[in-house]
C-alpha cells in the first residue's frame, strides 16, 4: 500500500490545482470557432437540429466507429475472461431467486414499451436528445428486464452476435458509400437531406443511428449476459 502521507500530499496538491482552476474560471461569452462553425452549418451541411448528434454521427463519425470497436473488444474480452474462469457448469443461471408472479407479468407488459421507447430515442436522435448510444442502452435495459423477471431464460447468444456483426458491417459500408458518393467517410449526404426537422430527414443520420443503436444494444446485452450466465461456454 502507498503510505497515507503520500496520498494526502497528492490529494492536497491536486486540490490546490483544482481550487485555483475553479476560482479563476470565467466562462466564455462567445462560442469558440469550432462550435460556431457547427452551429452555423448544422442545417445546411447535415440537416440535423440536434447538433450533438450531428457531431457524433457525421462530423466526427470516425471517432464513433472507433468507440464502437472499443466496446466490441470490451465485450469480447469479458466473455474470454469469464470463460477461462471455469465456472461450475450445470448450475442454472439464477444468481437471484425465482421472481414472483407480479414481476413476471409486469416485465411481460413493460419489455415491449421499453423496446418501443428505445426505438423512439434512436429514430428521433437527430431531432430531440438521444441517438444511437442512448437508444442502445435502453434496448439493453429491456433485455435486462427480461433477464431479471425470468432468470432461467436464455437469450440467443448467436442471434445477438449476428445482430452485432451485421450492423457493424453495414455501418462500415455506409461509411465507404459516403466516401464514394458524397464528401467523405461517413458523410450523410448519400441520401437527400429532406425537410429540416422531420423524422426521415438529415440524410443517412437516422440509418446510421439505427445501426449504432443495434450494435451498442447487442454489445451491452452480450456483456450483461456473460456476467449473468453461469455456464461458461
Amino acid at each position: 500500500m502507498i503510505p497515507k502521507v503520500l496520498i494526502s500530499v497528492l490529494l492536497l496538491l491536486l486540490g490546490y490545482a483544482f481550487w485555483t482552476l475553479s476560482v479563476g474560471y470565467a466562462p466564455d461569452t462567445e462560442l469558440n470557432r469550432t462550435a460556431a462553425y457547427y452551429a452555423a452549418n448544422a442545417e445546411s451541411e447535415v440537416g440535423a437540429p440536434n447538433i450533438v448528434t450531428g457531431i457524433i454521427v457525421t462530423w466526427r463519425g470516425l471517432d464513433t466507429l472507433g468507440e464502437v470497436t472499443v466496446l466490441f473488444l470490451t465485450s469480447a474480452i469479458i466473455a474470454l475472461v469469464l470463460s477461462q474462469s471455469g465456472g461450475p457448469s450445470g448450475v442454472s443461471g439464477a444468481d437471484f431467486l425465482p421472481s414472483g408472479e407480479l414481476l413476471t407479468t409486469g416485465a411481460r407488459m413493460l419489455v415491449p414499451l421499453i423496446v418501443l421507447f428505445g426505438a423512439y430515442v434512436i429514430m428521433n436522435g437527430h431531432l430531440t436528445p438521444g441517438g444511437g448510444f442512448q437508444g442502445g442502452a435502453i434496448l439493453a435495459s429491456g433485455v435486462l428486464m427480461a433477464l431479471l423477471a425470468e432468470p432461467t431464460r436464455r437469450f440467443g447468444h448467436t442471434a445477438i452476435l449476428r445482430i452485432e456483426s451485421l450492423s457493424g458491417s453495414f455501418y462500415v459500408l455506409i461509411g465507404l458509400a459516403g466516401m464514394a458518393i458524397a464528401g467523405g467517410f461517413l458523410d450523410n449526404g448519400i441520401l437527400p437531406l429532406g425537410q429540416f426537422g422531420t423524422m426521415l430527414s438529415a440524410g443517412a443520420i437516422p440509418l446510421i443511428s439505427v445501426l449504432i443503436g443495434l450494435k451498442v444494444g447487442a454489445e451491452f446485452s452480450s456483456i450483461l449476459q456473460s456476467l449473468h450466465e453461469t455456464e461458461d461456454a
Partner: protein, 118 residues
Amino acid sequence: MSQIALTCGFILILAGLYGALTNRDILRMIVAFTVANTGVNIVLVAVGYLPGRTAPILDSAVPVAEAAQRIIDPVPQALVLTAIVIGLGITALMLAYAYRLFRLRHSLDISNFTELKW
C-alpha cells in the same frame, strides 16, 4: 452556475481518487473509480456551459438564424457522451477481472495479491 458545477466535479474527482487509493476491497475501488468518472464528466460539461444560453438543439425555441448566439458549446457534450459509454465498458471489464481474481484466491482484499509487489 459553471462555478458550482466545476467545484462539484472537482470534489467528486478528489473523493473518487481518495477512495480508490485507500480502500482495500477491490469492488470498493471500482465504485470509487465510477464516482471519479462522473466527476470528470461533470467538469467537462461545465467547461462547455455558457451562462444564459440553452441546449444545442434547434427547434421552435431556437431558430437556426440565432443559433450561434443562443446555444452552448456542443463539442464537450459529444465528448462526454462517448466517455460515459466507454466508462461503462471499462467498469464491466474491471468487474470481470475482479470476479476472476476472486475465483483465484477467494478473497477481494487487495493486500492478498502480492505477486507484483515491489
